[in-house]
């Protein structure tokens, strides 16, 4: 399992390097990275009976930080799912992407994402789980924004990241609370009684739900998912069908074992899930872009899964796990199909397309089967799991089943709307010559469609897979089975009614469209999102204008004033008993005089050059003082820093305006005097307070041990490179970052920008010929 998680990360680096050389063939290398994940099918096949394997890589034992991977049935099932779709998406992309794509980057991101997703599903350690969770957010940001020269891609990426990062923060807090209340950072080692009794239980539950809802695009956080389709289609298939968005569902399923006992858990999830089911389907029905339709359909289906897992009973979990499999199969297949249509005709607009059945017969077959599975028509997998969904909702009450039926009827309608591009008179944009897709595109779609068909015709296969998760999710007691024919049950009647409703919706498509237009609310999640981001922008630019836009002296006044206030407050709150300074060594007195002279000299200097030289006096004076206090290392460092600072200053010197006497207002002079005095006083007090040792000094330890433990006679250096090497590592990271930041500033100022914009956007099959295609949420 450790290998399964880490290999994609390793291969990501490999692919990044190979990309420019291998071109599209990098995809074959990328597909190899998922082999260990596929091999997890072996332990999975033994699953309901076998004991979950635990692989622990220790990280910081004292903080209980470890990378613990636990292969229980559910995690393994998910991991294999990611492996399968990941492999197919990598291979599909080989045929799909245009020759001029930056393959290295694309596959590196794809694998990073796949690896973090595998880590997420297999993690048993809560902290690691959070880490991988955030990694999926970051990598999906990179994937969605892959074609970053397009503003829609940037917007989609930022939106996805902001929304899921909000949930990520919630998860961080939730994980901390769970860890504290449950007494362990291991998901399987939590003390459930203690957790349930803890006052942290309810906040942790709510924060977990925030994380799950944002990641799985539940109402009202669904806005990011449809814009995420700006990613290339293979990525959409991966993101939407198997992985990223299902992370929230996974969280609800796994944490349901912790929180499921609470009425609050089901009480929130089930209504939200059902509302998302209906709303997502409603919006999906009015999309004209095939991919947008599928995106909203994903929102809707996630609502269904969410509500089932949210029931937190054996029946719900069984049905949800079965539907999870079905959904992964038909949704990925449909994305691949839409990719083919786009690839062959150059558009995804439903009104522009028609009669593709003749040109693309195999694609049509795949699309038909997958859509029927989505619509819940026998003999396909989707039908069986929808029956289970109805069963579960029937047991909850009439309102629940009514909402479920409404949602499913809409699903039925949009599934057929998707198929409309295959019927009717042949129609496609001028210039496109649609013919059957190459095998590289057809085979992944076909395989998934066959899976969907198998799940329906041989329900036993789907049931065997579902049952592997029974111990992990605690639904072994559930006696139900997956089968096509249960006899005439209320669920079947509900299904027949749903079909009737759905057929009505299709038949009255024109009226439905009018109704939808009329019912469009003016305020929706997207408008709220844009209003919020706009508000933050305005606020921050105003704040910056007030605090940073002033002249340099004013900025300094603000900063010094704030520092003086804080220092004064600290001294006032914690009055230190000052340590007697003792008698300073006489030899240092001249140096002190030099320092003071330097400080006064700066104030009196009239030209900048003099000021620089005199400032140097204080620097070299400090170096001399260090030398006098027997710290040659510090002295040397100070000398060199001083020298390099002077050089840098002189380089910047050329841009400064001529100095000289500036007109000063009298009150301003007084204010500056006051500020300077209080800063000086505060700094002196702080230094004096720092002289006093609150604890026994630690320096003797270093003096005694630096040679024995690290083999160095220079204690300062040993301290830097060994005892506190981690600090130093952090510091050089800071140095590097600062250098890059300065470089960016300077180079941008030189007109590097036009060069950036000049790089042409990579042409690709997904590059839209059309204006914005997502109807921003109905």
């Amino acid at each position: 399992m450790t290998l399964a998680v880490f290999l994609p990360f390793l291969f990501a680096a490999l692919c990044a390097g190979l990309g420019p050389r291998l071109g599209r063939r990098t995809g074959y290398v990328a597909a190899l990275a998922f082999v260990p994940a596929l091999l997890l099918a072996l332990p999975l096949s033994a699953m309901p009976a076998a004991v979950p394997a635990l692989e622990v890589t220790r990280w910081v034992p004292t903080l209980d930080l470890a990378l613990a991977l636990r292969g229980d049935g559910f995690s393994l099932l998910f991991a294999v799912l990611i492996g399968v779709i990941g492999t197919l998406a990598s291979l599909y992309a080989v045929a799909y992407l245009s020759e001029r794509e930056r393959f290295g980057r694309f596959y590196a991101y794809l694998l990073l994402f796949g690896g973090s997703m595998l880590g997420l599903v297999l993690s048993d350690n809560l902290i690691a789980l959070f880490g991988f969770w955030e990694l999926t957010s970051v990598t999906s940001f990179l994937l969605i924004g892959l074609w970053h020269t397009r503003s829609a891609a940037r917007d989609g990426a930022v939106k996805a990241f902001l929304v899921s990062a909000l949930g990520g923060l919630g998860l961080l807090a939730a994980v901390a609370m769970i860890g504290i209340a449950g007494g362990s950072t291991s998901l399987s080692g939590l003390n459930l009684e203690a957790l349930r009794a803890s006052p942290l239980f309810v906040p942790a539950l709510l924060l977990t739900l925030l994380a799950a809802f944002t990641k799985s695009a539940q109402l009202p956080f669904h806005l990011w998912l449809p814009t995420a389709m700006e990613a290339p289609t293979p990525v959409s298939a991966f993101l939407h069908s198997a992985t990223m968005v299902k992370a929230g569902v996974l969280l609800v399923a796994k944490f349901g074992l912790l929180f499921g006992s609470s009425a609050l858990w089901s009480g929130i999830i089930v209504p939200v899930g059902l509302a998302t089911l209906v709303w997502g389907a409603w919006i999906a029905l009015r999309q004209t872009d095939l991919k947008a339709l599928l995106a909203y359909s994903t929102v809707s289906q996630l609502g269904l899964l969410m509500s089932l897992y949210g029931l937190a009973d054996a029946e719900g979990k069984f049905a949800a796990t079965a539907h999870l499999l079905n959904h992964a199969a038909f949704k990925a297949a449909l994305f691949f199909v839409v990719g083919i249509i786009d690839h062959e005709t150059g558009t995804r607009e439903i009104p522009l397309l028609g009669g593709l059945r003749k040109a693309l017969p195999l694609t049509f077959a795949a699309a038909l089967l997958a859509s029927l599975s989505m619509a819940g028509v026998p003999p396909l997998g989707g039908f069986i799991s929808k029956e289970l969904f109805y069963e579960a909702m029937l047991h909850r009450g009439p309102v629940f089943i009514a909402v479920a039926m409404l949602g499913s009827a809409l699903t039925f309608a949009y599934s057929f709307r998707l198929l409309r591009v295959f019927w009717g008179p042949p129609r496609h944009p001028v210039g496109a010559e649609p013919h059957e897709a190459p095998p590289g595109l057809l085979v992944p779609a076909g395989l998934l469609t066959l899976t969907a068909l198998t799940f329906g015709l041989l329900p036993g296969s789907a049931e065997a897979l579902t049952r592997t998760a029974q111990n992990a999710l605690d639904f072994a007691a559930y006696r139900g089975h997956l089968q096509l024919w249960h006899g005439v049950t209320p669920a079947l009647l509900a299904t027949l009614l749903t079909w009737g409703l759905g057929a009505g919706l299709i038949g009255q498509a024109g009226r439905v469209a009018i109704l939808q237009r009329r019912l469009t609310p003016r305020v929706n999640a997207n408008t709220v999102y844009y209003a919020l981001t706009e508000g933050v922008n305005v606020l921050s630019s105003r704040l910056i204008a007030r605090t940073q836009g002033l002249a340099l002296p004013d900025q300094l006044r603000i900063m010094l004033g704030a520092a003086a206030l804080i220092a004064g407050y600290a001294v006032w709150r914690a009055p230190q008993v000052f340590h007697p300074i003792g008698t300073p060594p006489l030899a240092l007195l001249p140096i002190a005089a030099l320092l003071v002279a330097g400080a006064v000299g700066v104030l009196l200097a009239h030209s900048r050059l003099t000021a620089v030289v005199v400032t140097g006096l204080t620097g070299f004076g400090s170096a001399a003082a260090f030398l006098g206090l027997r710290a040659p290392d510090l002295a040397l460092t100070q000398l060199l820093v001083e020298a390099v600072t002077v050089i840098l200053y002189l380089l910047a010197f050329r841009y400064l305006p001529r100095g000289g006497d500036l007109p000063r207002a009298r009150w301003r002079l007084r204010l500056d005097l006051l500020l300077a005095a209080s800063m000086g006083l505060g700094a002196t007090l702080l230094v004096l307070a720092g002289v006093r040792f609150l604890a026994p000094p630690i320096s003797p330890y270093y003096l005694a041990n630096s040679y024995e433990l690290a083999g160095g006679r220079n204690v300062v250096n040993v301290l830097l490179v060994d005892f506190r090497g981690f600090d130093t590592l952090g510091e050089i990271v800071v140095v590097g970052t600062v250098a890059l930041a300065v470089l960016a500033l300077v180079r941008l100022g030189k007109g590097g920008r036009p060069r950036l914009e000049a790089s042409a956007p990579p042409p690709s099959p997904d590059t839209p010929p059309a204006p914005p295609r997502i109807k921003e949420e109905a």
Partner: protein, 164 residues
């Protein structure tokens, strides 16, 4: 070299280096001699840092100073590559020195040392800390040079507006 308030010719916008910085014959002659000495001394500091005053940070600053001097005197960099490229290599080197002991089952960044005796050098200590220091050295050289070169390359015509 620090002419106050330079007024470059209007056509000189695209010049890689502003004229006031280069071309002084005295500076060239001196820097030719000093450059090698300073670099040597910097490397000495880096080498002996483990047992006597010195170390990667100081050595890096000193090298950067020498390179800037060379750049000012001759108008082109003595380094054949973009100094910013040294930063990731230095970081990677330091990180890897830390990672190796971790992978061997010891604490991250645990340093190791030992002694080798050869006929030529006598008893002589090696320490893995030197590699770490070398990483620090590269980062400091790369970082400070990148900043300095960046500033040197800016066209002085784009001056800051009067700040009061």
């Amino acid at each position: 070299m620090s002419r106050e308030n330079p007024t470059p010719a209007p056509g000189a916008r695209r010049g890689p280096t502003p004229p006031p910085l280069t071309g002084d014959p005295i500076l060239r002659t001196v820097s030719r001699a000093v450059f090698a000495l300073v670099i040597l001394f910097a490397l000495l500091l880096l080498w002996r840092g483990h047992n006597a005053p010195g170390g990667g940070f100081i050595a890096g600053l000193m090298t950067a100073a020498a390179l800037i001097l060379h750049r000012i005197a001759y108008g082109h960099s003595a380094l054949r590559l973009d100094p910013a490229r040294l930063v990731p290599w230095g970081l990677a080197l330091s990180f890897l020195t830390g990672l190796v002991p971790y992978l061997l089952g010891r604490p991250f960044l645990k340093s190791d040392y030992g002694y080798i005796t050869t006929a030529l050098t006598g008893k002589f200590e090696w320490a893995s800390a030197l590699l770490f220091d070398l990483g620090v050295y590269l980062v400091v050289v790369g970082g400070s040079l990148a900043i300095a070169y960046g500033l040197a390359e800016v066209n002085p015509q784009e001056r800051v507006e009067d700040d009061q």
